[in-house]
Symmetry: C2
Subunit: 707 residues, 2 copies
């Protein structure tokens, strides 16, 4: 995208002499920012616009064109694109609206343009975009005018599906003296999506941190690849994905005509790859401040210096929400603090120096330096209630001096009237010491950093799971459903224990084959056309002896021929009954339409269905992930000797989860759901048994949907 | 407090000529703000300070003194108070620190002063306070200097335990053009607490809304009285109570040396009386903006006008969190909108007018007016992304014009760079149209208003519960514990069903008395000295006939005499066993040390103990409250035919909760805990049975604590 971001020559199609018009603003941006390259205008009505030469069509522009900006009404866009194709322009930015966001007719227009661009290899930003702002090089391919003042360049790469939201983020970031590299707004994403831009920013050397606003995730797989790569390169990505609620999804659908994907699944992707998923524009700014500091805590032990006891309480309350600890200070640290802290003040964490810093400003720096050097401290939150008119900037300089001597993150909390404290906060942020004016943001900033550091520390785990989608070990049948014996054979081949059992075609066959089985038994009908076996009287249990087995056979065959007379019957499955004590669990894999397979587990009965006590992960997972999944369940204590109860075989359960993860890939793409329900978990060391299993075929589901 | 807030004459004890000193700032505040009353200084070293006469002691000041400000070091405070007492000063503001916040020695000093003040009827603000700022009358009894500019008076009464936090709230409020009446900071609260100030503000005619920051709640009863009164008078109280986490409570303990009380119990008080409980200083400001508008929604049907589709999605997402609905618009409303909305834009809620308002500003006002007048709309959120330099103030004026014509709350969301939008936001807030610059605050504001309105609508409920604490119907025994038959008699007398049963002294007595009972039965030991009956072999069940009853008697007496040979035995309780189907529930009342009795209910087994699925209310409650409690349980569907299961007698359960509420008051103050566990809930219409009950005596618990 080099020549898109740093074009040597541009043409504005639909340039205008009328001040305030989009086609004029776009031109004036090049004057205001003293653009060094060639600027050409296209408009049949003029020969010159704002001092730049104007031509009747793109084709007539002399010399090469790196980027064409299209600012004509929707009806003229197709022609402009054709001209660009003829002129061999590689990059086009289309401001014009009236495409996919306007319903079916607009969608069709967009598709037509898309085809031309594909045929001529044209990369498009938009349509319906506010364009690109290259902050580093002061190039504004946009119809908004940022003015000449606020161009603080930095290393944040910003991409936004919404132009207005992109500008809000940029504005708020600049308010806080955050430096940006670029802002790219993708609009209708004809052939360049937010993810495509993220891929570019990942490779771009001038970008250290990526910020993204998105409504839809165009490709789950692409997002995962980006996540994995960003994690390996330690390039933090802060994402605000809106459209989380049903109402929000409805609003998004009418806004961008695209499905937003399940927000739960998005969170699973974010958790796995360390994407910093936030819920508001303000949190984007907070997170960017934090990551801009480029310092990460090694653990959750926080120390804080406050000028007001109340602020100490608020910091403590908020840290507790993010599992951060106000660490008890060692005697050594306390002694060093005591060198300056007044006798009548206790030395504790929060270190409350009250207003003593007004009498002796050196107290402040000494305390901060001491905590920064204390071995028991991983990070610091420093309260600074003084503004520009009472020494706030000097104290901020003290913090900065200490920050230069340590790798530990130092977060500053400024309090007071905005007029007084904003210069102090801006000074700190400009110097990459994250400063906030509210306790929630200050404490959350530490959480962003620590959570990211933790996922980075485990990033190798992502590579250790082999999930070669091509290695198909199993072939799914062409029948309507996969029968229970077929599912169980697949589970068995995946090292997942199933009950001892046989399939018999008739009663003689059954009696022969069950000779080696231990009673009590269970008998179930086997038919690719019967999914709910119990509903048609196709299951009998317990069967205590041969006589009962014969009765069961008769009862099942009679029931089935009565309820589903034409069903294709493959036989009767007879298995040994599994006896307690055990816990019943449910393990399943579903496919998210955007993000791919998601595994879940939970306890059976009310736990999954009523209490929604379910643990989920994006596939693939390792046994370690699986163990974390089980321990995350609210009902986990029931596995672990709750109320002097038994301890159950959690490692065996975790192994099944990991095996199912592998199975999901070995089965290829032909399934939509895999479920073991119940998966019996026996007492510690005694393993698990998959009592029943279900594999739903993708085709079949599709068929149902199409009906 | 009239003469405290509007003194006719003041004396500053410890006045100083040294600029920057506390004793000087306090004096200069009277000059800067052009105080009309008499100002006297006390300092033996000077005859005059900043133009005011100075005396060696308070006693020597001529004329009457309404308020004495004490700004001397801690060692001299007692003497100053004695002088004030002699001079018959009624109000004293003590800036000096070094009292209760400094540990035992300081506490003792504070107690000594407290005694003097009590003896001479002196009302004290502080010590360790930043004093009082009367914004309306420009009187600043404080050592901070607000300058002469920001004195926007209004009707918010602010009280803060922490001086620094009080000033932060005042500063942030003034940044947003909120007008205050007074700020009173209570510091160590020697004899004037935050609650005392709230009582004053409740009565004060110039105060419409109360804002409070508190770390401790000095009296739960007083807070409840304030809440009830505020609700009846419709004077909203916004409270931030810090010290919610364990770490925060620890920090509070070392800061103010006072227990913070359980934050869960505080929330119950807030919920009951409509106190607006917030978690941050920023939320105080947000809530004050909302209540400053004095308009309340009648329901949760929200309409919104946006200039950017993304903003619409974000608003939808956030409204969903607070159970507010983006209401579908009627055809009538849509037709009226269509009069101005461009053909190529869909008319829906969010009403997205994109940037068309730039071409025709009248579109904006027309849409807002239409939605304000639409019957299906209860409240509006209006997006305003334009700042001071591109017409933002004109559009704000349009909003204001519409706001004047409607009782529905109109909330404005401004977006853009702070420099651009803050004048617009401030203009709106100054004119009482709540304006916010982030989606969370804008949507939460509606939640504050709607939640408050809902509680107000039901405020009569608070008076319908009779909880006459003097009407003692029961007398608790003087034994160590209340025995099960005694508890059951009390329950029975409270209309709570218990099993049919008898108490027998010996086997003959038992056989006689059980003649009328239906087997199966259960037998339990009765002894005021045995609480855990099963642990000592004191319970036998089921008992199917006389023979087994005799065996049970023998077994219980043997077991008890073996395990607790010296226990005083009052007999054997024999009851009919209650047979299923039923659900086991737990009902209990506990006393919070600060807030008084709290009732809870939940399902037995794992639900209460493991899953913490518990519903709680402050006592007293009505049956309607009780019904809400039960329906709040996550496990409630189990009462209501979950998975084709039975429906259980929830009304009977609710009645027991209300009966227990009454019982808790009829029992007086002698108990610390009342519990029914299990309370059997049978199927619909079949009632409940209290299988076991426990009343723990307060004295006994105290004895255990004292050990």
């Amino acid at each position: 995208m080099e020549y898109l971001l740093r074009p040597r020559s541009v043409v504005i199609v639909g340039a205008s002499q009328k001040r305030g018009a989009i086609g004029n603003s776009a031109v004036r941006n090049f004057i205001d920012l003293d653009f060094k390259g060639n600027v050409y205008c296209v408009n049949p009505r003029y020969q010159e616009i704002e001092g730049f030469p104007c031509f009747p069509s793109v084709v007539e522009v002399p010399g090469e064109i790196d980027v064409a900006i299209i600012a004509v009404p929707v009806a003229f866009v197709e022609n402009a694109i054709r001209e660009c194709a003829e002129k061999k322009v590689s990059y086009v930015v289309i401001f014009s609206a009236g495409f996919a966001e306007m319903g079916d007719e607009g969608k069709q227009k967009q598709e037509e343009i898309k085809k031309i661009c594909k045929d001529h290899d044209i990369r498009v930003i938009g349509p319906n975009t506010m364009g690109i702002t290259n902050v580093i090089d002061k190039i504004n391919l946009s119809f908004t005018n940022k003015g000449a003042l606020k161009w603080l360049d930095g290393s944040i790469g910003l991409v936004s599906q919404s132009g207005a939201t992109g500008h809000t983020i940029l504005n708020k970031g600049e308010d806080e003296k955050l430096g940006f590299a670029y802002m790219i707004t993708t609009g209708n994403q004809l052939n360049t999506t937010t993810l495509d831009v993220m891929e570019f920013l990942l490779e771009d050397e001038k970008t250290d941190v990526i910020a993204a606003y998105m409504e839809a995730v165009p490709s789950g797989g692409q997002l995962k690849d980006i996540g994995a790569k960003a994690l390996l390169n330690r390039k933090p990505i802060v994402v605000y994905k809106s459209g989380r609620s049903e109402a929000g999804q409805k609003a998004a659908l009418s806004h961008t005509a695209s499905l937003t994907g399940s927000s739960k699944s998005f969170e699973l992707v974010a958790n796995k790859y360390g994407l910093v998923s936030v819920d508001t524009i303000e949190e984007i700014i907070d997170a960017l401040k934090a990551f801009n500091g480029k310092k990460y805590p090694k653990g959750n032990r926080v120390a804080t210096v406050v000028i007001s006891g109340a602020t100490g309480i608020m910091i403590a309350d908020n840290l507790a929400q993010y599992n951060q600890d106000l660490v008890p200070l060692t005697d050594q640290t306390k002694n060093r603090l005591r060198e300056v802290v007044a006798d009548y003040l206790p030395v504790d964490n929060p270190v409350d120096i009250a207003s003593t810093l007004m009498m002796n400003p050196a107290i402040y720096k000494h305390c901060i330096q001491t905590l920064a050097e204390a071995e028991e401290v991983d990070s610091l939150i420093i309260h600074l209630p003084l503004g520009k008119s009472n020494g706030g900037l000097n104290f901020a300089k003290d913090v900065l001096d200490v920050a230069k001597t340590t790798d530990k993150p130092i977060i500053v909390l400024t309090t007071g009237s905005e007029e007084e404290i904003s210069p102090v906060r801006e000074y700190l942020n400009e110097n990459k010491v994250p400063a906030f004016s509210n306790v929630v943001s200050a404490t959350k900033a530490l959480d962003y950093l620590l959570s990211y550091e933790k996922i980075c520390a485990e990033r190798d785990r992502i590579n250790t799971v082999s999930a070669d989608e091509n290695e198909l070990k199993f072939y799914l049948p062409n029948e309507a459903t996969v029968t229970e014996p077929e599912v169980k054979q697949i589970l068995k081949d995946s090292n997942i224990p199933v009950p001892v059992g046989i399939v018999g075609k008739n009663i003689e066959d059954l009696l022969n084959k069950t000779a080696g089985l231990h009673y009590p038994l269970v008998a179930k009908i086997v038919s690719p056309e019967i999914t709910h076996k119990s509903d048609v009287g196709g299951v009998v249990l317990p069967i205590k002896n041969e006589e009962e087995l014969i009765q069961a056979y008769q009862s099942i065959t009679e029931n089935v021929s009565k309820h589903v007379p034409n069903a294709k019957i493959e036989g009767i499955l007879v298995e040994e009954l599994v006896e307690g004590p055990f816990l019943e669990t449910i393990v399943g894999v579903n496919r998210d339409l955007v993000f791919g397979p998601i595994i879940m587990c939970g306890l059976g009965g009310v736990y999954v269905e009523l209490l929604k006590d379910v643990s989920q992960r994006l596939l693939p997972i390792t046994e370690k992930d699986a163990l974390e999944m089980v321990k995350e369940l609210k009902s986990y204590p029931l596995f672990d000797g709750f109320r002097n109860g038994a301890t159950y075989d959690v490692p065996a359960l975790a192994k099944v989860l990991a095996d199912i993860s592998n199975l999901a890939f070995s089965l290829g793409e032909g399934w939509s759901e895999i479920e073991i329900n119940p998966l019996i978990v026996r007492e510690e060391g005694k393993g698990v048994v998959a009592l029943d299993g279900l594999i739903t075929l993708a085709e079949r589901e599709k068929a149902i949907v199409e009906q």
